[in-house]
C-alpha cells in the first residue's frame, strides 16, 4: 500500500505543488471535454457502463464510495462510517445526515435501497447488476419470488446493512458512477431521464444533445465550501485533431492526449508545464487462444513475447505514453511485482523456442484488432515486421470495437489486441486467469495453470489484506511466466490543462473522470470563463 501511495503522490506532484501554493477561489465557468465519442448515451447513468456517460453523471450524482486518487483506494463518500463483520460478509453503513438531493429531498437509507434494487432488478438489464450478484437473497429477487433483496436492510433512516453470501470488497463495486444513489422513485419518473436529480455537487441545467451538458453549482452540497465553480459546460469533442485545435485555441480547459499530441505538447514551451500524467489501470496486450495450436504451447507464447522490441515501440510509436508491462497487474496496483523483469527482446531465443516447440518453419497468426492507435492496428502494424524476423508471420484482422467485444468472449480468434481494465481490485482482475472462469466472462485466453488456481483460491479465502496481496503478487508472476498474452504496456493517461485550472486529481482508474467539486480556476482565466 505504501508503495502505491508514494507513486500516486509522485505523480500528483505536478499539480499539487501548484495548487497548494494558493487557496481555492470560488466562481467561474469551466469548459470540460468529454472526449470518448460525439454524443452522450443517456443521462440515466444506471443504464450505462460507458466512461463517456460518466462525464455529466459524475457532476450530478454521487455513489456510496468514491475513488481516492491520493491513497489509490475506494473510500466512503455518502457514509461517514462502515463496520464490517469479521468474515467480511456483512457491512453496516452510517449514512451522511447533511446530504440533500437537488430537489431538496434529504438523503436517507430508503434511497440507497431503492437505487440498488433498481440497478439489480433483472427486468431492467442494467450493467451494474453484477455488483449485487453476491447479495444474500438475490436469487429470490431475480426470480421474482421476493419483492426486495434480503441482503439490503434499513436499520434506521441513516443506517443501512448490506449482506453478501461470500467475503466481499464492496468499495470497488459501489464506487462506480453507475451505482449512483437516486432519490426514491426517480427512475420511474419520465422527466428524470431529461432532467436528472442527484446528490452531486452540480445541478443539471440543460442538455443540448450531441453538443454539451451544462451543470451549475448546487448550493446545498454536503461538503463545506465546495464546489468552487459556478458552472461547467461538459462539451463533446471526439475527434483528436479537432480537440487539439480547440485546446490550443483555448476553447476548452482540458484535453486528453494521444501519443502524437503528447510529444507535441511536451515540445511546446507554452503547453509542457500543464500536463497531468497517471499510470492507469489498463493493460494493453495481445491475447492468445491457449486452447488451440500453436498457442497451446507455452514456448510459442513466450517466443512471441521475446520476438517484439516493446521498449522501442513504446518509445517511438507510443511516445513514452505508456509503462512497459511485465506481467498483467499494472504499476499502480498493490500486488504489482516491482522486481519482475519484462520478457527480453531476443529474436534468436524466440526462433529457438519456436523450433523447440515443434515449429522450426515458424507460425502463421491472425491478430484481430480495432483501429485504435494505442492498442489496435497501429501497434499491430509495428509488430508485424518484428515478428517476421523471428518467423512469426502475422496478419492483421481489422474489426470494429463492438465486433471485437463480441468475437473475443466467444473465442472466435487466434490472437486479439485489446486494452483491458487491470484494476483497481487485484482479486477481481486475477479472476480472469482462473481456470474455472468461463471464457464468456473475462477469461478470454483460457489460461489453465494449477499452480495459479491454488494461489488464487488461497487469496480468495484470505482475510488479511497484506497476505492476500502477497498471494496475488505470486499469482501475477505465474501469469507472466505462463504468457497467455504478449504483455505490451500499462497505459499512461495524459491530460493537458489550461494554466488557470487547478485541483485536478491523478485518477488512476480513469484520468478524465474528475471530482468536479475540487476544481477551481484563478484570475488568469480568459473572460469567457468568468
Amino acid at each position: 500500500m505504501l508503495k502505491s501511495l508514494t507513486l500516486a503522490a509522485a505523480l500528483l506532484m505536478g499539480v499539487s505543488t501548484a495548487s497548494l501554493a494558493e487557496t481555492p477561489k470560488s466562481g467561474g465557468t469551466l469548459n470540460f471535454v468529454a472526449p470518448y465519442g460525439s454524443s452522450f448515451g443517456t443521462l440515466d447513468i444506471h443504464t450505462s457502463p460507458s466512461t463517456q456517460d460518466e462525464f455529466p453523471a459524475k457532476a450530478i450524482h454521487r455513489s456510496l464510495y468514491q475513488w481516492n486518487s491520493t491513497d489509490s483506494k475506494p473510500e466512503l463518500e455518502l457514509a461517514t462510517e462502515v463496520t464490517a463483520s469479521p468474515d467480511n460478509k456483512v457491512f453496516t453503513y452510517k449514512l451522511r445526515e447533511n446530504a440533500v438531493f437537488h430537489n431538496g429531498k434529504p438523503f436517507t437509507a430508503d434511497d440507497v435501497i431503492y437505487s440498488y434494487e433498481r440497478i439489480a432488478n433483472p427486468k431492467n438489464a442494467f450493467p451494474g447488476a453484477r455488483y449485487f450478484s453476491n447479495l444474500v437473497g438475490i436469487e429470490a429477487f431475480n426470480k421474482g419470488e421476493a419483492e426486495h433483496i434480503a441482503g439490503l436492510k434499513k436499520i434506521d433512516d441513516h443506517t443501512v446493512e448490506i449482506s453478501y453470501s461470500d467475503p466481499a470488497e464492496p468499495g470497488f463495486d459501489l464506487m462506480n458512477t453507475n451505482a449512483a444513489i437516486y432519490p426514491t422513485g426517480a427512475g420511474e419518473d419520465p422527466n428524470f431521464i431529461t432532467h436528472p436529480i442527484g446528490l452531486g455537487p452540480f445541478e443539471f441545467v440543460e442538455n443540448i444533445p450531441g453538443s454539451k451538458v451544462v451543470v451549475k453549482k448546487f448550493d446545498k452540497y454536503y461538503k463545506e465550501g465546495q464546489p468552487y465553480l459556478d458552472k461547467i459546460n461538459i462539451v463533446l469533442l471526439g475527434d483528436a485533431s479537432a480537440r487539439d485545435v480547440a485546446f490550443r485555441n483555448k476553447e476548452i480547459d482540458v484535453s486528453v492526449l494521444g501519443p502524437t499530441q503528447y510529444v507535441a505538447y511536451q515540445a511546446d514551451d507554452a503547453l509542457k508545464d500543464h500536463i497531468l500524467e497517471v499510470a492507469e489501470v489498463y493493460t494493453r496486450h495481445v491475447g492468445f487462444d491457449t486452447t488451440k495450436a500453436p498457442f497451446d504451447k507455452k514456448e510459442v507464447r513466450q517466443a512471441f513475447n521475446h520476438a517484439i522490441n516493446a521498449d522501442l515501440i513504446i518509445e517511438k510509436l507510443v511516445k513514452n505514453k505508456a509503462y512497459r508491462a511485465t506481467g498483467w497487474l499494472p504499476i499502480s496496483s498493490a500486488a504489482y511485482d516491482k522486481d519482475a523483469k519484462p520478457y527480453s527482446y531476443d529474436v534468436a531465443l524466440a526462433k529457438k523456442m519456436l523450433a523447440d516447440a515443434g515449429y522450426p518453419d515458424g507460425i502463421d497468426v491472425a491478430i484481430t484488432a480495432t483501429q485504435n492507435e494505442s492498442w489496435g492496428l497501429t501497434i499491430v502494424e509495428a509488430i508485424i515486421p518484428m515478428l517476421a524476423e523471428a518467423g512469426i508471420r502475422a496478419t492483421a484482422k481489422p474489426v470494429e470495437a463492438s465486433v471485437l467485444a463480441e468475437v473475443v468472449p466467444a473465442g472466435d480468434f487466434q490472437a486479439y489486441m485489446w486494452s483491458n481494465l487491470s484494476g483497481p481490485s487485484d482479486y477481481a482482475v486475477m479472476k480472469c486467469f482462473y481456470s474455472k472462469t468461463p471464457r464468456s466472462s473475462c477469461a478470454y485466453q483460457q489460461m489453465s495453470d494449477p499452480a495459479f488456481d491454488k494461489l488464487f483460491e488461497e487469496a480468495g479465502a484470505e482475510t488479511d489484506p497484506a497476505k492476500k496481496t502477497d498471494l496475488l503478487r505470486q499469482a501475477n508472476d505465474i501469469v507472466q511466466e505462463d504468457a497467455p498474452s504478449w504483455f505490451f504496456n500499462y497505459n499512461k493517461a495524459v491530460m493537458a490543462y489550461q494554466p488557470w485550472l487547478h485541483g485536478l486529481q491523478a485518477n488512476a482508474t480513469e484520468l478524465a473522470i474528475q471530482n468536479y467539486e475540487e476544481l477551481w480556476i484563478d484570475d488568469t482565466a480568459p473572460d469567457s470563463r468568468k
Binding site: 460507458s50 480537440r243 463492438s402 466472462s441
Partner: protein, 311 residues
C-alpha cells in the same frame, strides 16, 4: 397542379417502404451488438447474464421474421422504436438532432447558391477566357478535395492561426460556430452549381430560339433577362434540389469532424455502438428528406415549365 402534387407525393411511399425493408435486412445481419459494444472499451468485463437480459429486453432473442413484423407494424404507426442506448423513443432522439442538421444544410446551400450561380454565369459570358478556365478548374478542384481534409485545413487556418472563428461545436446555436462546417459542406454544391449554371447558359445561348430572338431584333439585355433566366433556372433548381436533398447524407463526415450535433454524427455513432433502431430511423429520415425535396423540385419544375407535367 394539385393533382400532380398529390400524385408525386404518393409515389414516395413505395420507395420509402422498400428502403425500410432493405435497411432492416442489412442491419439484422450486422456483426456485433449493442450489448457487446458496451464492453468494447475494455473497462467492463464481458457479462453473459447481462447480455442475455439486454437482448431479451430489446426483443433481440426473438426470430428475425417476428422482429420484422413488429418493426413494420411500428412504422405504419410512425413509431420508429426505442433507442437501445438512451431508452427513449427514436423519434425523440432524432428530433433532438435534426434541427442542427437542417441549419447546417441550409447555410451550406445558401453559400453555394450565392457564390456558385453568379460565378457560373460570369464564366459562361466569356467562354474560353482566362476567367472561365480558372473558375472551371477551381470548380473541379472543389469537387476533388477530401472533405475532412478541407475541414481540418480550414479549422487550422481560421481557428488556430488566425483565431477568427471557433474550431468546433454548436455553441448553443451561435452563428459563428456555423461558418466553418457550412463552408466545408458547401464547397461541393458550390462547385457543381457553378458548372451547371455555366453549362446551362452556354447551351441555351446556342439554341435556336435565342438566335430567332436576335434576328427579330429584341434587345440584347431583355433577351438575356427573359429567356436565359427562365431556362437556366430549371437547370439550377434541379441541381439545388438534388444537392439539398443529399446534403444530410454528405454531412456525415463534416458533422463528425466539427462535433456538430446533427443526425449525421448521430448515425455514425449509432452504427458503431449498434443502436440499430436509431440507425434505421436516421437513415429513413435522411431518405425521406431526399425524396420530399426531389418531389418538391419536380413540382416547382412543373410550375416553371408546364410541359413537364405531361411526361
Amino acid at each position: 397542379m394539385l393533382r400532380f402534387t398529390i400524385r408525386r407525393l404518393f409515389q414516395v411511399i413505395p420507395t420509402i417502404i422498400a428502403v425500410a425493408m432493405l435497411i432492416f435486412i442489412i442491419f439484422s445481419v450486422i456483426p456485433g451488438s449493442f450489448a457487446s459494444s458496451l464492453m468494447s472499451d475494455g473497462k467492463t468485463a464481458s457479462d453473459p447474464e447481462m447480455i442475455a437480459r439486454l437482448n431479451e429486453q430489446f426483443g433481440l432473442d426473438k426470430p428475425v421474421y417476428e422482429r420484422f413484423g413488429t418493426y413494420l407494424v411500428g412504422l405504419a404507426k410512425l413509431d420508429l422504436g426505442t433507442s437501445f442506448r438512451t431508452r427513449e423513443p427514436v423519434t425523440k432522439v432524432i428530433n433532438d438532432r435534426i434541427w442542427a442538421s437542417l441549419k447546417l444544410a441550409i447555410a451550406a446551400m445558401v453559400l453555394a447558391v450565392v457564390i456558385g450561380v453568379p460565378l457560373g454565369f460570369i464564366a459562361a459570358l466569356k467562354p474560353g477566357s482566362l476567367l472561365d478556365s480558372i473558375t472551371m478548374i477551381g470548380a473541379v478542384s472543389g469537387l476533388s478535395l477530401p472533405q475532412f481534409w478541407l475541414g481540418l485545413l480550414l479549422m487550422y487556418l481560421f481557428a488556430l492561426i488566425l483565431g477568427w472563428l471557433p474550431s468546433f461545436g454548436y455553441g448553443g446555436g451561435d452563428f459563428k460556430y456555423l461558418i466553418l462546417p457550412a463552408i466545408t459542406l458547401g464547397v461541393t454544391p458550390l462547385a457543381l452549381l457553378a458548372r451547371t449554371t455555366r453549362a446551362g447558359v452556354l447551351e441555351i445561348m446556342n439554341e435556336d430560339f435565342i438566335r430567332t430572338a436576335q434576328s427579330k431584333g429584341m434587345s440584347n439585355s431583355r433577351m438575356i433577362r427573359w429567356h436565359l433566366t427562365r431556362n437556366v433556372m430549371v437547370l439550377v433548381v434541379t441541381t439545388i434540389g438534388l444537392q439539398f436533398g443529399s446534403m444530410m447524407g454528405q454531412a456525415v463526415v463534416i458533422e463528425k469532424l466539427f462535433a456538430w450535433p446533427g443526425i449525421g454524427s448521430l448515425l455514425v455513432d449509432s452504427v458503431s455502438i449498434r443502436d440499430i433502431p436509431v440507425v434505421q430511423g436516421t437513415i429513413l429520415v435522411i431518405v425521406l428528406w431526399f425524396l420530399l425535396i426531389n418531389t418538391f423540385v419536380d413540382i416547382i419544375y412543373a410550375a416553371i415549365d408546364p410541359r413537364i407535367k405531361q411526361t
